[in-house]
Each structure stands twice: as C-alpha cells, then as structure tokens.
Subunit: 360 residues, 2 copies
C-alpha cells in the first residue's frame, strides 16, 4: 500500500493507494463519532456498499443511494441528502463517506461542508478520475443549470482511500476518461512523467496493476503538492485547470450527456496546447505530442460536430476562472511547465476553437 | 467611530461602530472587484438601500430584495439568490453586501461562502441583534424545516459596519430582543459589564446614544475575543450559546413566528440560569438577577403557554450542540463565568422546563 500526504496544517490528511482497501480497517480508523452516513449511487451500491459497511464493524451506518449520473449533482440531491440526514437524526459528530465517482464525492463533500456547518468526511473514490483528481484537494460542489460547480466550498476530507481493485468493474470508457487527468499532471508539472506515460500507454490501457499504481501515485503526489501550495486557488492551484475552461464549456454546451468530464478535458487540453503555440510560443511538436498521447490512450481531441465558436466563448466567460471580464486561461510554455495568463485575446481563442472543430 | 478587531490570522477583519456609517466610504474601501451584489429585504430596502448604493460610487451594484422574515432564511431563498447572481453574471470577484438583520446576514453569508466556492462579503447589520451577535464571528446558515441553522458554514466577512443610527427605524420590540444578547455577554464573561447593564437599563431602553455605543462596543469586544480563541466552535466558543439550546427549541416549537430570536434566548437564559442552580450550584440570587435584568429590559423570561416539556426536550436533542446523544449545555458558575457541560441529566432539564412554564 502507498501513502501520500496532503500537507495543509491542521487540515492535513493521507491518501492511501492499493488493492482491496475498501474492505480494510482504514476508514474505521479515521472515524471519530459513532454514526456514519454512507452516500453512494445505484451503480456502485450493489458492487461495494456491503463490503464497506461490513468493514465499519459496529458503527451505526445509514446508506443513501443516489441515481447514477452528473445530472444528479444538483441542489435537489443536496436538499434530499440533508432531509435524509435530519430524518435519521445525524448530528455534528456524524462522518459522511462518499463511495463513488466525482459526482458522489463532490456532492457528499459539499453536504459535509455545510451540514451543521461542517462534519467529517471520507472519500472512497471508485473511478480513476475521482482517485487522481476530484477526491483530492477539498474542492466540493454542486452544479447550477447555468454552469458546473457554481455552488460549493473548499473542505478537506479526513482521508482518501483509493482502491485500485475497483477498475475491474469500471467501464473502459470511464477508465480512459480518467487517464486524461493523469496526462494533465505530466503537462503541468513533470515532463519526465509525461514521457513515462508516452512509454507506458499500452500498460495503462491494459490496466496493468504496477503501471497503474505508479500513475495514480505520481498523479496524487503532484496534486497534493499543488494543493498544499495554494489550498483555496488564489494563484498557483489554477494550473490544475489546464484544459478545463475549454472542457467545462464543452460539457455545458452538450448538456453534460455527450462527453464524460475526462473526455471534455482531453479535448480542452488539446485546445489549450494549440492556444499555447500562439500565446507562449509552445513548440508545435510539443502540442502534437499532447494530442498523440491522448489519442493513444483512446481519448477524443476534437470538438464534437454542431457546436458554435461564439456559444463556447460565451460559456467560457461564465466560468469561475474568468475574473472581471478577462479570459484567464492556463497555457503551457513547454511540457512540464504551465502558467496562468489573463492576457488571452478572444480572437485567438476563437481561432483555436475553429481549428479544433467548432463551427464558425 | 469605534473600531474593534476580530483576530483570525489571514481571516482577520474590523468591526466599525458609530453614527451614520451606512453612507460612509468604509464599505467601498473594503471591496476589491468592480461588481457588488447588495442583498437586503423589503423592509430595509426603502429605508437604506439607496444610501448604501450611493456610497459605492461607480461600482456596478445589483440589488436583491427578499421578503422580510425568518421564514425566508431557507434553501429556496438561497437558490433564488444563486440563480439571480448567475443571471446577472456575477463571478468570483464579486462582493456580496448583507444589508439587514440576522436573516439577511446569515443567508447572504452562506451564499458568499458557497457561490463559486466563496466570494467576499460585507455585513451592514440593521438590527441590534445582528450588530452585537450574528454579523460578527463568521457563522452563516439557513434553516431546515426540522431545525434552525442546520445548513451553513464558518465564513468570515471582510468587515462589519454597525451604524447606530438605524435604531431610529427599528421597532422597539426588535430592539429589546437585541438587548438579550447584550445581557448574555455579561453573564458569560464579564460580571462588571453585567452590573453596568443593571445600572443602565433605563438608558438602554431610551436608546441613549452613548450608553448604546458602549453596550455594543463591549458586546462585540467579548464576541471577537471568544471567536478568536475558537473560530470553528470546537470548544470554548460554545459559551456564546448560553440559553440558545433552550431558545432554539422554543423557536422551533412555536414555528419561528411567536417569539423573536432574542426573546427566545431571553427565556432560554432564564432557564439556563435556573438549571445552573442545580448543576453548578449557581446561587439562586444570581439566577434571580438574570431574570430581573431581562425583565427590566422588557424581555420575556417564561415559556409561552401550550408547550410540552417532552416536545421541547426532543427538539433540544436535535440541536447541533448535542453530541452523540448527550445533552451538551452551557451553565453558569457565577455571573461572568460559564462552562460547557455534557453531564446534564434529562430529568433536571425537564424540571427546569416545567418551572419555566412548560406543560408536563
């Protein structure tokens, strides 16, 4: 088992990575009270809820099952969980456990951040995307009809337990979508890791255990380091959003149904790399390497047909990362080094969107 | 003008107390972006919104008007404000201003804590209760049908501006309800201040400017000191809840319509003082002084007719301050010194409720 620390003073916590951890005692060791609320979804519950519950011994565990899907990461689900916690007399000493992917984790984290002004919570991410990204770093949120993650809080879990055995039951498409975020860590901060990914694309696609464990470990190490340096995203943490402003616009434009988050981010990173060749002078060969690695991992790099340039720009302006009207984007200087810039011309963004397949 | 600091490291902020501050430049000096969302209610808007807006010069100020009343401190109002912020393209650099009493302040603070994972906000409290209590210390929340403040966050404002001129338009009953929290500060931490209040009850009832300013300043000094020592209420801060577990149960039992918060707290403090004579051996004369001062200030000290002991105990058990089933209450050793205790017998609470007027 691997252990990575997220260093945030009195909010520090460990991430555990390894096989068959859902049935281990790790979660129980990080619970202070006697009551647990396990939040999961209808896909994951039949696969893993009983195993997690059994490992919690004689704690009182109530289980809430959401329907599966990003559409349920909304204020209605938030209200339903709060009502259910009240009905079941959960109080300030309750621990919430999120068992599922990013939707369950983000939503449960936001409930934990706000129920009775904050209760403990633990992340048991069951997708690759959630293990390498959303479960680590304390970003919790729900969506608004007009934008992703518009309502949320920075709120850190007590621990994150990444069980690599869950990929046996994870659909291949979702697994590949998670690899997009893994690639991101290489681009934003570790050229050597990016090269390692290029060399191990086959092993990753085969879900080779040792390859996968290294990829997850290195990803969360990079994320933990960035988060520790800027917990509330006032500066450097924004680099974790490489490709994401494009990606969020694509997800919103397609109604959160056509593209998985990781797929939208893959297209967004291709676009951001293309933009970088204009803005920072990133070498075209480097941008091509990004596109090739994503394609080798079975990820899309072109904007789906039928989306308009102006529509996407308007959605990008609604993104949280837009400050006082300026388009604030992350661009790459080279693979392994990125920067936040507010100096991007709307015309250049429009050109990139058109190059990547949007209609003019 | 008086200035009191709330010392919370990088979340420190000042409280300004004085006459005619709503039309001053203080708010504008604490705004970083160019957009402002002013949240107020239908009673306060016609009295003060124009004055506040004028003082913000050429910032873009949008105004949201809630209906007046505790009933609107709910998830529906929260959702409406978020929708309105999205419709008006507010972003992460927006500053929210709460212009109103505790309902507007708590709700606006919770929106600020969660909109785009947190934006700046400023408190302009227009009731005595909000000036001496709810606007200071970063507790934000909305109510749930089954309990007050069940959904919320700890989130500090950029500054608090307490304009003592607003009491000209504050109904007497609401003004007196605010005095209950002033009395609380004497009981929990300053016997000399309590005695000063006994000596100045007349001046307070007359809203004598100098008397009032001293009472507000000393109240927020005590609150600031307690909050600075325990921001997230893991320990000592709980003493600010003296009388409040009783008070919240009374408010819930009467549907938030019969008693003002301060009135419920006044009755709750009478009950807590009575309980203290059993639990800590508080002298009966001290408990009698609490009841007398509250009565001198025109506040109720008896439970309204028609409420059952068991109903109130059940509601007290739902309170956030209940930990793993035990009734955790604040009791007084003497006037000026209180303690948190989890060792209160339900029987003793029942006796007190009956003595204070509840039906058995």
């Amino acid at each position: 088992m691997n252990r990575v620390e997220v260093e945030l003073g009195d909010r520090s916590y460990p991430i555990f990575i390894g096989e068959d951890l859902l049935g281990s005692q790790i979660a129980a060791q990080h619970i202070n009270g006697r009551q647990v609320a396990l939040i999961t979804n209808s896909t994951i519950a039949p696969l893993y809820a009983a195993r997690v519950k059994a490992a919690l011994g004689n704690l009182r565990v109530d289980v809430f099952e959401l329907p599966d899907g990003e559409a349920y990461k909304n204020i209605e689900s938030f209200g339903s969980i709060i009502d259910w916690l009240m009905d079941n007399r959960h109080n300030r000493s309750t621990t919430l456990i999120a068992l599922g992917g990013g939707v369950v984790g983000d939503l449960t984290g936001f409930v934990a951040a706000t129920f009775q002004r904050g209760v403990d919570f633990i992340q048991l991410p069951t997708t690759l995307l959630a293990q390498v990204d959303s479960s680590v770093g304390g970003k919790t949120a729900i969506n608004h009809p007009r934008g992703k993650n518009m309502i949320g809080a920075f709120y850190q879990p007590k621990c994150v337990i990444a069980d690599t055995s869950v990929f046996e039951t994870l659909p291949d498409r979702e697994y590949r979508a998670g690899l997009a975020e893994v690639v991101k860590y290489g681009i934003i901060s570790d050229a050597e890791f990016f090269e390692w990914l290029e060399d191990h694309a086959d092993g990753l696609l085969r879900k080779d255990a040792a390859t996968l464990t290294h990829a997850i470990r290195r990803s969360v190490e990079i994320k933990a380091e960035v988060v520790a340096s800027d917990e509330r995203e006032t500066g450097r943490r924004a680099i974790l959003n490489y490709g994401h402003t494009f990606g969020h616009a694509l997800e919103t434009a397609t109604g959160y149904t056509k593209l998985l988050h990781g797929e939208a981010v893959a297209i967004g990173m291709a676009a951001a790399s293309s933009l970088s060749t204009t803005v920072t002078g990133l070498k075209p060969e480097a941008a091509a390497r990004v596109v090739k690695l994503l394609a080798d991992l079975g990820l899309p790099t072109r904007i789906p047909a039928g989306l308009q340039v102006q529509e996407l720009i308007d959605l990008m302006r609604m993104d949280k990362k837009v400050i006082d009207g300026g388009l604030r984007l992350i661009v790459a200087d080279e693979i392994g080094t990125v920067q936040v810039t507010a100096a991007v011309q709307e015309r250049d963004v429009a050109d990139v969107l058109a190059r990547c397949g949007a209609d003019q």
